[in-house]
């Protein structure tokens, strides 16, 4: 069954550590996204990609970086985690069809806590 996966689901880490949040999808989608969401709040787009070797920053400024070396894989990296990075990070993907915005499929999310 086609799906979108995120690991780890929960991460508690100390300040200054480097972390990578993994996201993979098996749907063959060209478009992938990273959102940041505080509990009960709206989703903020922090990164997106339209295909391999294509990455862009979203509306919300983020100190994280992303890469897209393979279509199915879109990892997010924080070089030096800080308590202000504590949040839920949601990965999503969608088909790429010209002239329209398609529905997005979300992964289960990673809840990050930086102490």
């Amino acid at each position: 069954e086609a799906d979108i996966y995120q690991t780890p689901r929960y991460l508690v880490i100390g300040t200054g550590k480097k972390i990578t949040l993994e996201c993979s999808q098996t749907m063959g989608h060209d478009k992938m996204y990273w959102y940041q969401q505080d509990p009960g709040m709206e989703l903020h787009l922090i990164h997106y990609s339209y295909g391999v070797n294509s990455t862009e920053k979203g509306d919300l400024s983020s100190e994280s970086t992303v890469s897209r070396i393979r279509t199915e894989h879109f990892p997010l990296t924080l070089e030096s985690a800080r308590p202000s990075h504590t949040s839920q990070y949601l990965c999503a993907s969608s088909e790429r069809r010209s002239g329209t915005i398609n529905e997005q499929f979300f992964g289960p999310g990673t809840r990050l806590t930086v102490l």
Binding site: M41, E42, L45, Y48, Y50, D59, T100, I101, E103, G109
Partner: protein
């Protein structure tokens, strides 16, 4: 600034009562999407509206897109405890050179048994 406004932010209803959430855009939208996020879960796509004045139904859920394509609503008839969650509308807006989906602030629905 906020491009998609959603009201109310919170709604508590007794099971069996109706519920409505409203979404207003500062600009005309080509389409609008609705998502549901259960507590502790991730957003799940519900529906997309494209045409002016469009009305779509999914069992007890009724979605409307305004004539001017600047507002939308989601109405749930006779709520059940399974309806609990946060409902988000989302519309396409330009972010830099590309159109991206911008989510509203969401309406958090609590259904009291």
């Amino acid at each position: 600034g906020q491009q998609v406004m959603q009201i109310p932010q919170y709604q508590h209803v007794q099971e069996g009562e109706d519920f409505t959430t409203y979404c207003n855009s500062s600009t005309t939208l080509s389409n609008i999407q609705w998502y549901k996020q259960r507590p502790g879960g991730h957003p799940v796509f519900l529906i997309q509206l494209v045409k002016s004045g469009e009305v779509k139904k999914q069992k007890r859920l009724t979605f409307q897109f305004g004539e001017a394509k600047k507002n939308s609503s989601l109405h749930i008839t006779a709520t059940q405890t399974t309806d609990v969650g946060t409902y988000f509308c989302a519309g396409p807006y330009f972010s830099g050179s590309a159109r991206q989906l911008t989510f509203g602030s969401g309406t958090q629905l609590t259904v009291l048994p």
